[in-house]
């Protein structure tokens, strides 16, 4: 039987298909009913070494909705960590104050090191350009809710596929389900070769494109991402690719997309998705953002063994 009790959530690579489906089913339950006493007496420590208002609030809210407590430090600069204390020492001490740790860090691998160091479960809330696994769970959850299944879909990925960690993680997770993947990006922002090779080795059927218009009629789902200026060392390179894709209501309606075509976006957006799309049945990105609560409630409950 599948159980996530005491499991760390560090990387989507650590999860089997069964474990993913188990967590998504539990998120459905969390959406249907409330469990205000489920984590009563449990303490969550949030350690955000890099600011992220939305992710942090979402975890704190999820914990409180299940009756748990949240502790955190106000600002990383206020802790002894900047005074040269090692992360290992710091998390060992925090382990004594809490039942579970949620950590975001600008250094990649810091959550893994934390999980290796402490005996309580650890959730990675984002480590640099590496992983943000709870985001991947909520992306999967949104697709599952919108399409009824994760099997056999044609999924398009659009935008910055080179640096976009949400894209890499979602593609990795969807490879558990026989999906067709279409990678749509400017040539300079293609999926990295090692990511493609790994998908190939896992038997995924994929293709690469630069035009959205040419392939959109084949898609069940589009995962749209923003091209992040901060990833470019050279501003000229950024100028070349920014604004490559601008989806709008009139554009999408003018193309022969499938009637139940759905668009996801991890938000925030820049100009790749016009606000005119928000009111169309294609847009599910606000539902996606709202799924953060049930999904994080489910993950907290599951690893604390409360359900």
């Amino acid at each position: 039987m599948v159980s996530l009790k005491n499991k760390d959530i560090i990387s989507i690579r650590d999860f089997t298909k069964e474990e993913i489906l188990y967590a998504l089913n539990m998120a459905m339950e969390m959406e249907e009913r409330s469990y205000p006493e489920l984590l009563k007496g449990k303490v969550l420590a949030t350690l955000f070494f890099e600011p992220s208002t939305r992710t942090r609030m979402s975890f704190e809210s999820a914990m409180k909705l299940l009756g748990g407590e949240v502790i955190s430090f106000a600002e990383p600069s206020a802790t002894s960590l900047v005074k040269g204390e090692s992360l290992k020492d710091a998390v060992k001490i925090i382990e004594g104050y809490s039942d579970i740790i949620v950590i975001r860090h600008f250094l990649e691998g810091a959550p893994r090191l934390t999980a290796d160091t402490v005996n309580i479960p650890v959730i990675n809330a984002g480590d640099g350009a590496n992983q943000h696994p709870t985001q991947t769970f909520l992306d999967l959850y949104t697709i599952l809710r919108a399409k009824g299944s994760l099997e056999g879909l044609s999924v398009g990925f659009l935008g910055d596929l080179k640096y976009g960690r949400t894209v890499h993680s979602l593609a990795y997770a969807l490879a558990h389900f026989p999906c067709q993947m279409l990678f749509i990006s400017p040539p300079s922002l293609r999926m990295p070769a090692y990511q493609l090779e790994e998908l190939r080795e896992r038997g995924v059927k994929y293709s690469e494109h630069s035009s959205f218009e040419e392939v959109c009629h084949r898609l069940d789902v589009l995962y749209c991402t923003r091209i992040q200026q901060e990833r470019f060392a050279d501003p000229v390179e950024y100028e070349k690719v920014k604004g490559t894709y601008r989806l709008s209501k009139s554009l999408v309606e003018g193309l022969k997309v499938k009637p139940d075509f759905k668009i996801l976006h991890p938000l925030p957006r820049v100009d790749e998705m016009d606000e005119s799309l928000d009111e169309t049945p294609y847009a599910v990105y606000f539902q996606q953002a709202r799924s953060g609560i049930p999904v994080r409630k489910a993950l907290l409950a599951a690893i604390l063994g409360a359900k």
Partner: protein, 149 residues
């Protein structure tokens, strides 16, 4: 009995067929400078296979396979000879372990292993050509990106 280019040992281990210029690196990975036993190290010995080879002889210690595998990344052709009473009683090849601990540096400057005092851990995801994935930051590296500590 033929003449040995490096003196004989009675019981122990001979690591043969090391790419000559990697001999000291191999010795340091095996932590040989800290050993108190008799160690004989030869370099630039002529070899039909490698042109020039290095050799390390350790008296009184039988290196196990796991220890020997640590050197596979830099000395993939090495052979391990177990010597008993001056005779070679066993000959083994080295092969890459599943994980390299404290041997390779992670090439990602943003990786926690380059900031905290911890041992690096690189998983071997492919053996030929070698591809490694960092246990911490999950970045993969191959070829020139692979740098020894």
């Amino acid at each position: 009995m033929r003449q040995l280019q490096v003196s004989a040992i009675k019981d122990g281990t001979v690591i043969d067929h090391i790419d000559s210029k990697s001999t000291f690196k191999v010795a340091s990975i095996l932590n040989i400078p800290a050993e108190s036993r008799l160690i004989l190290v030869g370099m630039n010995l002529s070899s039909r296979q490698l042109g020039k080879k290095g050799i390390i002889k350790i008296e009184g210690k039988v290196l196990n396979q796991e220890e020997a595998n640590k050197i596979a990344l830099i000395a993939p052709n090495a052979t391990l000879n177990i010597i008993k009473n001056f005779e070679v009683v066993e000959k083994r090849r080295v092969s890459l372990p599943e994980e390299l601990v404290g041997i390779v540096k992670c090439f990602n400057p943003n990786c926690i292993s380059n900031h905290e005092r911890i041992q690096t851990r690189l998983k071997v995801v492919k053996k030929a050509p070698v591809r490694l994935r960092c246990h911490y930051c999950e970045r993969t590296m191959e070829g020139e990106d692979i740098e020894l500590l």
